[in-house]
Assembly symmetry: none
Homo-oligomer: 411 residues x 2
């Protein structure tokens, strides 16, 4: 199958936005066995969009469009595709009801331009959007497939993953099956190094890595005639990958480290308290993203100032004066104070130099202590993290969550 | 002048490479007053590249190509452009000498395919490449301009900056100037509604909105002969926009709300403490992203459990029993406890139903109380926020930061 991608948005053409969607979709199409021959970006302009659409329907079987599905006058994607295919726009009742209940729930009046988002080309299949108001659209007509998705990656990616990718696999004569691995504690290039021999020789299965700032998704995809044949391929590689990555694999499906840690806490009924200095609330905000965590998360302290370390956690002034706030000794007293006060089963404390200022030769930016308490034992780990302030904070939060995970896994 | 960008490279089409060149060049062209109407990526394939080139010469005055200038068989960009324009390829002596001395300097034999890099379309201007072996090419013919650059950004960017950009400025009669507005507390479509009349009639200046989950960037761009003329346009619209958006405009440059709030706290020397229930650390983590905030941020409590609200903030058990944790009364006691304990100039507290569970008819998901203390006054605001858990948390955090900003602005 020949595919192409059309990204609609003036903000891409003037360079305000980096077009990460084109790469994401291209990678996914490749792994589904679809050849991508063109990526085109065009602005929010009806004539120029129509010119591209006419060309794309001549040369491709599958056209994926992103952007231009919103409520405003210059959102033209649905209308242009409908015009190209000679389809009427009609009100999609379910989308209308959803929009209406959204605006009711925010106690805000739905303006007329929002109504536009409930009109769809006749015969469309609707792709639900759980992270925004504009649904996606799938149209099959005369052996051609059009898929229209909203521009923001946080809306597009879940829709592609949960709906478009399985749909495309079902269209392909060969079947593709994937194993997923979520990895924490190993960066993307280190991970590729660890698997270099099997990545380099890949034909079937193919191996792809997708990096986020503090976790990596590894996908191994086999192309096979049957599920059994695919399983055979994948199990062979699973042995090698499991052996090399060991307990850095935190999940075998695409879920976040936050979710895994929250599930472990909830399932084991373990209570947790947290004291954050350098991470400034990041561990807490990642955990509280997960529904149900209130059962386990007793409380958290963001003790950014020395006074709050003394006041809330009972860190001794002499410890701060002698060793400083970024020290093994301070981390230990933070942790002890936290446990004494909250009496939770588990506790975690962070202190470090996040930068950009405050680093010295003895205590450079990136020096971090993480203290963890579990099963009556206090442990303090020292880390040296490279990169800017945000990276130091994110990596420290991820390593803290990973420490909790490893302790709970051991039981 | 109408420009377009053609990126040549199969590695982009299969998603191995993120196309940062398209964004970089688009941004530069915009700022040089050149409208970019298309970005196209095509693989290393002669027929498909020629198809795009034929189209681009019809519709654009300036065509910038990246990639496909290397020594291998599938590097076809120069050859394809020469064929399109009816130009012969000829040996460029200076480039040949440079290549030869490069290979001598690395004590490596120049292979025949490398010689290809010294052949140029007749009449080309050569753009020197100080970071690689493939020079760039500039061709002016029949009122059309072709600029060919190598793909790697570390080669392309210095060549663009030092040679292409000054060349383009010399070609453009008009200049573009922009005013930026960052807006909080108004969604993208409500914002467009508020400015519909001026957006609809826009020709010069043009008005564009770019939404993030909890803030909107508004850009107003004037095309003028001089900076003075542009200022005159922009100031006229500035009066209207300022009047309509009032203090929802939190900055007149593209910076985050976190940064603005942190700057206001730091500049005024205001100390802050935070108590977060439903936002679970998000306000704290957004503030602690900003370097220097430690001067003002005393401490924060993530009091997710009832016990921690009692223990750390002195909320009364009777209040929780009678009104519940999500209530005006609880928010008020959280805030009072926080101020009593930390004695900061300012304090903020959140409690709400983030969902997806825990909502009732009386207290539905999205019901949120934000308490703020400033200048000796306690205020509790009630909000109803729609959407999923993440949206409720993000909007509550953004509204809390916005409340802090408004109070500090008033002084």
């Amino acid at each position: 199958m020949r595919g192409e991608i059309v990204n609609v948005g003036t903000e891409i053409l003037i360079g305000d936005i980096l077009n990460t969607n084109a790469q994401y979709i291209s990678k996914e199409l490749s792994s589904a066995g679809i050849s991508v021959y063109y990526q085109t970006t065009v602005g929010d302009n009806g004539d120029r969009l129509m010119e591209i659409l006419k060309k794309s329907i001549e040369r491709s079987d599958l056209i994926i469009l992103t952007g231009g599905l919103g409520p405003t006058q210059d959102d033209l994607t649905k209308e242009s595709v409908a015009k190209l295919l000679g389809l009427k726009m009609e009100l999609h009742t379910e989308s209308y009801d959803k929009l209406l209940s959204f605006f009711n729930s925010v106690s805000s009046k739905m303006t007329d331009n929002n109504l536009k988002q409930a009109y769809m080309p006749e015969g469309s299949h609707i792709i639900p959007n759980n992270n925004g108001t504009a649904p996606g659209v799938l149209i099959e007509k005369d052996e051609k497939i059009f898929i229209l998705l909203p521009g923001p990656p946080r809306e597009l990616i879940p829709m592609f993953r949960d709906f478009v990718y399985p749909y495309l696999l079902s269209k392909s004569p060969d079947k593709f099956y994937s194993y997923y691995y979520k990895v924490s504690g190993v960066g993307e290039s280190a991970l590729e190094d660890m698997l270099l021999d099997i990545i380099d020789n890949q034909t079937n299965p193919t191996i792809a890595t997708y990096a986020k700032p503090d976790e990596v998704l590894l996908r191994v995809t086999a192309n096979a005639k049957s599920e059994e044949e695919a399983e055979e391929f994948l199990r062979k590689y699973d042995v090698i990958i499991s052996e090399r990555l060991k307990d850095n694999i935190y999940a075998r499906e695409d879920i976040s480290l936050n979710q895994v840690v929250a599930d472990l806490l909830i399932d084991s009924g373990t209570t947790l308290s947290v004291a954050e200095s350098c991470t400034g609330g990041l561990i807490l905000s990642r955990l509280t993203e997960i529904p149900g965590i209130s059962k386990c998360l007793h409380s958290g302290i963001v003790c950014y100032s020395n006074e709050s370390k003394i006041d809330y956690l009972g860190v001794r002034k002499e410890t701060l004066d002698t060793f400083g706030a970024v020290s093994r000794e301070c981390a230990e007293e933070m942790l002890q104070g936290l446990v004494k006060r909250n009496k939770t089963d588990m506790a975690i404390a962070t202190t470090g130099v996040a930068g950009p200022d405050g680093g010295t030769t003895a205590k450079p930016v990136g020096l971090v202590y993480i203290g963890i308490y579990h099963n009556g034992i206090y442990e303090i780990e020292e880390y040296h993290i490279s990169g800017g302030r945000q990276r130091v904070q994110m990596k420290t939060a991820a390593m803290s969550l990973n420490l909790i995970r490893k302790k709970l896994k051991k039981g």
